[in-house]
Structures are given as structure tokens and as C-alpha cells.
Symmetry: C2
Amino acid sequence: MSIVPPELRAFALTLADAARGETLPRFQSGCGADNKNEGGAWDPVTDADRQGELAIRGLIERHFPEHGISGEEFGVRDGSSRWSWSLDPVDGTRAFVFGLPSWTTLIALLERERPALGIVDTPALGELYIGDEDGAFLLRAGAPARGIAVSGCAELGEARLTTTDPALFDAAGAAAFAEVAARCRLVRYGLDAYGYARLAAGTIDLVIESGLKPHDYNALIPLVRGAGGVISDWRGGQDYGGGRVVAAASEALFDAALALLGPAA
Amino acid sequence: MSIVPPELRAFALTLADAARGETLPRFQSGCGADNKNEGGAWDPVTDADRQGELAIRGLIERHFPEHGISGEEFGVRDGSSRWSWSLDPVDGTRAFVFGLPSWTTLIALLERERPALGIVDTPALGELYIGDEDGAFLLRAGAPARGIAVSGCAELGEARLTTTDPALFDAAGAAAFAEVAARCRLVRYGLDAYGYARLAAGTIDLVIESGLKPHDYNALIPLVRGAGGVISDWRGGQDYGGGRVVAAASEALFDAALALLGPAA
């Protein structure tokens, strides 16, 4: 049974709605030649990020002023409760700038620093992924919530692997990733958090990353676990301080990846 | 004025509808561990490809039996008319297999071998891009057609560049691409034909590729031109026989890219 009270779960969905109202209208707008003389192609993203986070923070401060908040844009606000929120209003900045719909909003609810509920919302795709100990679900506008589960893929030779950008690894990490990639059926780049969402939904089998920040991974942990997947740091533990994350669609696949990542971990 | 008669334009949209009816239901379905013992993770794609192309071919053969057809899956059928069709029912196979919505259906109408009308349909995104000499348009289900245009971005330093997979270049091509990429603001991979669609819609500025087949590029030419962009082979001509394509959001950007690609062209 999930430790997350139903009212906090419902409130988390409200937060996603509020962020969406700020980010989605700014997507695929004003990001072209008009801004060319001031490097301003970044502005729409900054603005979407900032306004999205402000909308979420405002709701939390009004309804649960005792909750802590940690957001990408506006930093940490300590709370007095065992509950706190970890926020990334626009994960996948490059996708956003390229007008590609795979950017997400990440919302995690933590109980005493431990991620208990995770939401990956994809406003431009109309898909919201939510997971906790009770399971993982995909919500589409106008459709009933659908339970989702990892593929169960157990062998590297059958696995669809993704990482956001292989250039984010250090030398040892890049070599270890290349070892894994050479054994997988297919590799694909550039998905950010959406890769974990599709792992939870069963169409990606393995995600290996480094350089992630807490607001990048906190929401992914309950989602991947709720869908029956495995997620850990590169040593198989829960110390994500180095920003290195592995998520897999089965224990067997996880073990196979970890064996190859070990030397770099 | 477009040389494409209105009834053929309408018919082209009907073809996209027919393909969508075969491909979309097969997306994000049955592509997981169930197939693991027979390398069958590819089957859903092959099936979507095959059934999508059969649906299109069937309509053309019934309504315009004199038209030629060239499709990725079922090859060439000679016609007696000046009109012929070039088809790729699922472009972006990897995206399809990863459950990512950027795969497309490509439909080109050619007049005496020259692409006159191009459609890039993205069934999973609900976006259909269509272009000819009269302009380029984005059609979304339930919304009025919207005219689209390239960004006009004129400098590499401000450009959003994409290519599907840098591993598809030969050594000289890879070096030339790297020269361009080093000067661009952002680079992104893995988009296949969707990259050209987003170039036509103004959120990507430059696409550089090699290894494309006629069914990959025929639909892109009228679309990019209709949106005010430039598209050519790496020498600036219209000889795509080598599968090398450059598309740009302005003449200035096109010239800057071509200057760097020249040594490899």
C-alpha cells in the first residue's frame, strides 16, 4: 500500500495541471528568427520553466505551507512536514527548443527525503505518467487511467536502450556505456525523462544516464518501481549523489547492465 | 500556382488517412518481451509498414490505375500517366519500435519524376504536414489548416541542427557534418523525416543527412519548399542519387552549410 494519502495524490495531479497551463502555451511559439540578435531563442524555455515552477510553488505554499519545496528554478524552501516536493517544470530543454513534444514536467512527492510518488507529465503529447507503490498509470485526456508495466525484457540482446546524450558521461562512463550499447538491439538518444516514462510503459527496456540532478530523477524512481521496473545508481544502490542512474525492465536485465557498468561505477 | 489538381491533393490526404488506419493501431502494441525468442520485436513494424503501404496502393490502383507507384515495401509499379506516387508507410522505424511518436508516413505525388506534392503525416502526434508550390500547411484533427513557414534563421551560430544518425555518414561526410555542428547552437538526433516537418514549421533550422532513399526524401522536397525553405543535395543541386540532403530555413543558412559540406560533396 502506498504511503501517499489520496488527497496528496490528487493534489499532485492538480500541480501538473497548473504547470501545463504555463508551459504548453509557450511551446512552439516565438522560438525562431525574431530573437536571433540577442541569443533569445532560449527565452521561451526560461519563461516556461520559471512560470511553470511558480505556478506549482504557489499552489503548494497556499495549500500545504508546511511542505518543503525543491525546484530547478527557484531552489529550496524548507518545510516543517515530513512531506516535500521536488520539481522540474521543463525537463528536456533541447526538445522544447526544437519544437519536439517529448519534453516533460517532473513532480515528485518525497516522504522524509524518500521519493514516494512520481509524475512525468508530457503536455505536448497529452500523456501523464504517475507511479507509487500501488502501481503505475498512464492518464490521457478524456480516457480512463490505464495501468502500465515494464516490458520484462530480460536480455541485453533484445533490449531497447536509451540515454539522453552520450557526451554527458566521463571517459570511464562512456566506455562502460559503449560496452552495454554494443550488446543491445537498438540504442536511441535525446529522450530525457520521457525515456523512463516509456520504460514504465513497456516500450523501452533500459535507460543508463549520468549527470542527473535530484529534480531530474526523484519523480522517476516511484514511477519506474510502480511499473515493476528496477532503478538504482550505477552500483545498484540508492545513492544518486553522483547523478548516475540505471533503470531496467527486469532484474535480469538490470544485473546484466550493472555487470558491465561496474568498472566505471 | 501548384500544378497539382485539387482532386489529386484531396486524394493524397485520403491516402494518408488509409495508411494511418493500418499503422496507428499497431503503435505501442505487442513490441515487448513476448517476442523475445524470435527476434520478433521487429514484426509489428514490418506489419505496420506492409499493411500501411498495401492500403495506399490499393486505393491508387482502384482510383488511378494509370498512376505509377514506388513504395518502400512493394517496389515499383509502372504507370502510363505523368503522375506517380512515392510511398514510405513508416519512416522512423526506430522511433516506432521505441514507442516514440515521431515516426511518420511519407507520401509524395510526382509529375514526370519531379516531386510536386509532399505529405508528412505523424499519426501518433495527430499532425499532418502538406506542401506544394502554393505553400505548406499543418493540419491537426479538429482544427483548421494552418499555414506554416520556416524560421528564416540565417546564421549557423543561431541554428538548431539535426540529423537522424551521425553514424550514417561516410568519413568525409562525418567530418564535414562535424564542422557544421560545431558552429551551430544546438544539435539533435533521431528525428528522421519529422526533422524536416519541424523545419517547415519553423522550430528547426537546418537538416543534413546522407543515405536517404527516394521514398525518404521525395515528400520532403515540396514540403520544405512550400514552407519557404531550401532543399538540395550536398552540391546545391537536385541530384539526390547519393542520398545526401541538406534542408535549410534560409538561403543564407543554406549557403553557409554548403560551404562547409563542399569538401565532402
